[in-house]
């Protein structure tokens, strides 16, 4: 029996009923990794060049085999002793290399942390271990999570999309999405600041959940935008996503933004009926803005028909099951999502980046220096890629008193207006009284490697359909809903009011059940060997 493409809940059942050991599951998963992943990302390594490089996934920055064996053996020992190892017993998973794990390198995909070994473990990683899951490795990402294609990582080769290895995986949790899609672990932990779980999940045909801000602790997460960052799971199905959220959600005395709101039973919530739920569609999410670098102007187009139709078909299925579809839902401040994000995320990023100095930890320049300032300059100059440099410079420009044009205050007000849009449509006493909004997750399917990278504005607009969720702090769940004409996955997302993850999972699960016999559900990434 091969377990690498099985759902996490099935693997956990097989392990708990001792039909297979956690160590055997681990060995099989490592076999899959060796068969499809190719070279792991390394700092300053050559970009993909060989035929094998071009046809493998490169999801990992580090395989943690020894650590994983220790965890798997512990699960098996517990079972032998008659103890319950937890709901994710023996389930192999990966963690975006932005989460600290004690004694294991944590790099954020940056040269500046390439030699950093974390002295403590992130809450989410501790909780996955407590649930019996087995961490098989760290996966690649955009440097410090800054991007939407995972191309900005200092660790090369960058990840390639399992559905078409000439395409990007999306980002920034690109290694997470690629690993899950390719059967390299059933679950991955990612983070979502402007769409960084949902975007790559959509590009790689997986499920991805951005929880409500504060639903999941940020302790042990290397910060990007502290008022926006949300850890969350990616998985191949909705049930596994619910199981993972159940494991990681909840208050944490080490993070005072982790909300003290009871965690519901997501598996029970997920199976409830969707009849009578009010699901909205908004025209604002079927238009896309893009940056024309030749004219230096922002332009607007309707979203591609193939994406629009895929999302509308989801609405059709839900209506068949008794949901009420509400059209023309107004969210007038959606178009300000990216401009607002450019300001808030850069100001917060620059503040967080200034801690990397070559003094306390991480990379230090090997060039001579005379004083602290020169040490900073040479260390940051050599070890930050272009994205951290851009974000530091923009963050300082937007927040320093000497250049202040009021952008930051204006962006905080715009964020309040975006939040107010969502409050209004989810208001139980309001005109729309929605339970959830249904939208496309991304403006396009996975684009070609090198096709957008380098144009920082066009890349940022790839997050235009996900970013307002982060501004508002609400949850969002992306699910795969079909494929385009090039065989690339299409994602649609459900957005809901604060702490409505259970309801979003219910909608995702309903769609999954209704479409389980559709042909597209049987497709598998072509690089997975046919006989497996």
């Amino acid at each position: 029996m091969k377990t690498y493409d099985l759902p996490a809940y099935t693997i956990a059942d097989l392990v708990k009923t001792r039909q297979i050991s956690a160590v055997e599951v681990l060995e099989q998963t490592l076999e899959r990794v060796r068969s499809v992943d190719g070279r792991s990302g390394q700092v300053d390594a050559a970009q993909a060049q060989s035929e094998e490089d071009l046809n493998t996934v490169h999801a990992f920055t580090l395989l943690t085999e020894e650590h994983a064996r220790g965890q798997a053996e512990k699960v098996d020992q517990k079972l032998k002793a008659g103890e319950n190892p937890g709901p994710l017993a023996g389930v192999p998973y990966t963690a975006k290399d932005i989460f600290t794990v004690k004694g294991i390198p944590t790099t954020a995909g940056s040269k500046i942390l390439s030699n950093y070994v974390a002295p403590y473990t992130a809450t989410v990683v501790e909780r996955m271990a407590g649930a019996g899951a087995v961490m098989i490795g760290k996966v690649n990402l955009d440097e410090f999570t800054y991007g939407s294609s995972s191309e900005s990582s200092a660790f090369k080769p960058i990840p390639r999309n399992p559905w078409d290895t000439s395409r990007v995986v999306g980002g920034s949790s690109g290694g997470s999405a690629a690993a899950v899609a390719a059967g390299e672990g059933a679950i991955s932990l990612g983070t979502d600041t402007g769409g960084s779980i949902r975007h790559p999940a959509a590009f790689c045909g997986t499920v991805g959940l951005k929880p409500t801000y504060g639903r999941v602790s940020r302790y042990g997460l290397i910060a990007f935008g502290s008022s926006l960052d949300c850890p969350g799971p990616l998985a191949r199905n909705v049930t596994d996503t619910a199981l993972a959220l159940q494991a990681i959600a909840g208050e944490d005395p080490r993070d005072n933004t982790a909300a003290v709101v009871p965690v519901p039973d997501y598996l029970a919530e997920m199976e409830k009926d969707i009849r009578g739920l009010r699901i909205g569609l908004s025209e604002e999410f079927f238009r896309v803005t893009y940056f024309d670098s030749e004219t230096g102007e922002l332009k607007e187009n309707p979203i591609d028909d193939v994406i629009k139709n895929a999302v509308l078909s989801v609405a059709g299925f839900l209506a068949q099951m008794g949901a009420d579809i509400v059209v023309d839902v107004p969210l007038p401040h959606t178009k300000y999502g990216i401009p607002t994000y450019f300001v808030i995320s850069r100001v917060e990023a620059s503040s967080n980046l200034l801690r990397y100095d070559g003094v306390k930890y991480g990379y230090r320049t090997d060039q001579p220096f005379v004083d602290l300032k020169e040490l900073y300059r040479k260390t940051r100059g050599a070890a930050f890629g272009v994205e951290p440099k851009l974000r530091m410079l923009m963050g300082i420009y937007l927040s320093a008193a000497q250049f202040d044009k009021g952008y930051y205050q204006r962006a905080l007000k715009a964020r309040a207006l975006i939040r107010s849009d969502f409050n209004s449509i989810f208001d139980p006493g309001g005109k729309y009284r929605l339970d959830a909004l249904l939208t496309p997750t991304t403006p396009t399917t996975a684009f070609s490697i090198g096709g957008v990278y380098g144009d920082s504005v066009l890349m940022q607009y790839s997050d235009q359909l996900t970013v307002t969720t982060n501004h508002a702090g609400i949850p969002g769940l992306t699910i795969p809903v079909g494929f385009d004409d090039d065989g690339l996955p299409i994602g649609a997302q459900f957005l809901g009011p604060d702490y409505s993850e259970g309801l979003l999972l219910r909608l995702g699960r309903a769609f999954e059940k209704l479409t389980e016999n559709e042909d597209w559900r049987n497709r598998r990434p072509p690089l997975i060997p046919a006989n497996e």
């Binding site: 070994v117 002295p119 403590y120 801000y213 504060g214 008022s227 208050e251 005395p253 005072n256 933004t257 909300a259 003290v260 709101v261 940056f291 102007e297 922002l298 300000y336 990216i338 401009p339 450019f342 300001v343 620059s350 070559g358 003094v359 930890y361 230090r364 220096f369 005379v370 004083d371 602290l372 040479k378 940051r380 100059g381 050599a382 930050f384 272009v386 440099k389 851009l390 530091m392 410079l393 300082i396 420009y397 937007l398 952008y407 204006r410 962006a411 905080l412 007000k413 964020r415 309040a416 207006l417 939040r419 144009d455 920082s456 504005v457 940022q460 607009y461 508002a472 702090g473 609400i474």
Partner: protein
């Protein structure tokens, strides 16, 4: 289109960020920053009235979801040795900080 971030402003930002740029990097970074300003300028067109507040988080923190602040009690960090091991330069259990540049104020 006039660049919002001129060469002089850009050089000042680079100095404030304490960044040494690689050959040819400055031109690319300044172009991208100015392109990003095209998007940021869109914020000028939002009708914002005096009543509109600011939001530090999208999600409000109230008595219902905020944890009670921890007691203000100092504790020995259990990871002291692991943390010190990460420092590039140590002396007698202290992290060595290079000389801090300074200038006399007039």
């Amino acid at each position: 289109m006039t660049d919002k971030i001129s060469s002089d402003v850009f050089n000042r930002l680079v100095d404030l960020a304490s960044l040494e740029l690689q050959e040819g990097e400055g031109e690319y970074l300044r172009k991208e920053l100015n392109n990003q300003m095209v998007s940021i300028e869109v914020l000028e067109s939002i009708p914002i009235d005096a009543e509109t507040g600011t939001a530090a988080h999208g999600l409000p923190y109230t008595d219902k979801n905020s944890p009670v602040p921890r007691e203000d009690i100092s504790r020995q960090d259990p990871h002291r040795e692991d943390i010190l091991k990460q420092a590039p330069e140590l002396e007698d259990g202290y992290i060595v900080v290079p000389d801090i540049s300074h200038e006399e104020l007039e």
